[in-house]
């Protein structure tokens, strides 16, 4: 039993979960700021970015150290590779939260108007995907991760609907264009959050089952083979 190595793997997982907590909080604050136009929340999201970036670098370094020093194999190797990829995806979710916060700040300059896009609903779905993907990572649950992949289509569809509705709004009320475009960019950012959650779920499946399901690989296989 490689006790120290196992402890290092546990620590790596804990670090990633701390970072995941920061990122989840950022995306939640950013979407709440949209609903409430709370510029203070926007500021908090923007100020959280350096900490997330620092954690990304630290986790990468810790993962690289383990690869170099321990030369892991099989499930351990897949776990560390999954951590490296999930780390990058979480950082990008953090970037999306900042982007949303910046848009909300700019929307504050304009009068409130009715935007025909249900951003809170989209945010709820995207955040649920992230939560589920992380839960799958915590529990090493490939079935739960698999269920995240199915949600991505819904998020994509909501984003397409937003694009259509906002195009229509701008045509009918050109004075709403600046607000509407900000809302569109927020919708796009949430769609990307869904994409990152999908990536995280795929990485969990890779770690647990040793199967690369990215880009639809293995989609046509009949039944997944459990190990």
């Amino acid at each position: 039993m490689r006790i120290k190595f196992q402890q290092n793997l546990d620590e790596l997982k804990e670090r990633l979960l701390v970072m995941a907590g920061l990122v989840e909080q950022a995306i939640q604050r950013a979407t709440e700021a949209y609903s409430t136009r709370d510029l203070g929340l926007c500021e908090l999201v923007i100020r959280s970015e350096p900490a997330i970036n620092r954690m990304e670098r630290e986790i990468d370094q810790a993962a690289m150290d383990l690869l170099a020093m321990e030369q892991p194999m099989a499930v351990d190797l897949r776990f560390i590779l999954a951590v490296i990829r999930i780390n990058a995806d979480l950082e990008r979710v953090g970037d999306s939260a900042v982007s949303i916060a910046l848009r909300v700040q700019q929307m504050g300059m304009f009068a409130n108007g009715e935007i025909p896009v249900d951003i809170p609903e989209l945010a709820l779905l995207a955040a649920a995907m992230v939560r589920k993907a992380l839960q799958a990572f915590i529990e090493g649950d490939a079935d739960l991760a698999q269920s995240v992949l199915l949600l991505d289509d819904q998020v994509d569809q909501m984003n397409r609907d937003a694009f259509r509705s906002i195009g229509q709004l701008i045509g009918e009320k050109p004075e709403m264009a600046p607000q509407a475009l900000h809302a569109l960019i927020i919708s796009r950012n949430l769609e990307r959050v869904g994409d990152h959650a999908t990536n995280i779920a795929e990485d969990v499946i890779f770690w647990v089952r040793g199967r690369d399901v990215r880009h639809g690989a293995h989609m046509h296989e009949e039944t997944p083979v459990e190990e």
Binding site: P72, M73, A74, V75, G210
Partner: protein
Amino acid sequence: MGVDIHVENLNAWYGKTHTLKDVTLHIPANQATALIGPSGCGKSTFVRCLNRMHETNPIARAEGTVRMGELDIYKDASPVEIRRRVGMVFQRPNPFPTMSIYDNVASGLKLNGFRKRKVLDEVVERSLKLSALWDEVKDDLKKKSGASLSGGQQQRLCIARALAVDPEVLLMDEPASALDPISTAKIEDLIFQLKSEYTIVIVTHNMQQAARVAEKTGFFLMGGLVEFDTTHKIFTNPSDKRTEDYITGRFG
């Protein structure tokens, strides 16, 4: 050229101890196949059955079929004939200490009755070139003894000695475990180059080494072959939990 090795239901005993249990596998020609597993798992016994060295111990016996190409080594040939066709390299380099480098390499041929100087010269040079030792020893072939070489050079000398009798299969039982990293790298490079002419079976405790040199890997445990697959599959996503536990260090 190397030959395929087909092993079917191979069992081996030391006295009453059943050390190898019903092993069946196909070792492909002109590839390196690594055998891994904890101490006492049967992997060394297995390779010793491939050149009938196992039976040199009076209390040992083996049953089953081992075919090298078309030859059933337990039915169609004598142990002496088999050992000419199957070279073996051991953990500790074991050159004949008082013999010159030249005589070490030529010893197998001389035992088989070859005496012509020109033939021996050619074989010694070819074997030392194949074992990547020629450039380092060509000026001292008859001046220096095998024992005067470094550990890594001695091991390559033993490989040259094994190759001199023109075998089809080369068995290597932890060939680099007593060597420093540079000598180890030379042995691994050598394995890579020799694959085109020989079938190589390597027993190793160093899993990174198995991953580096072998196309196929077999995992032995308690005398049985647990899993045999491509090296890539074994080290990234093994099918059997016991294999995974072993290669990730979770045993014990």
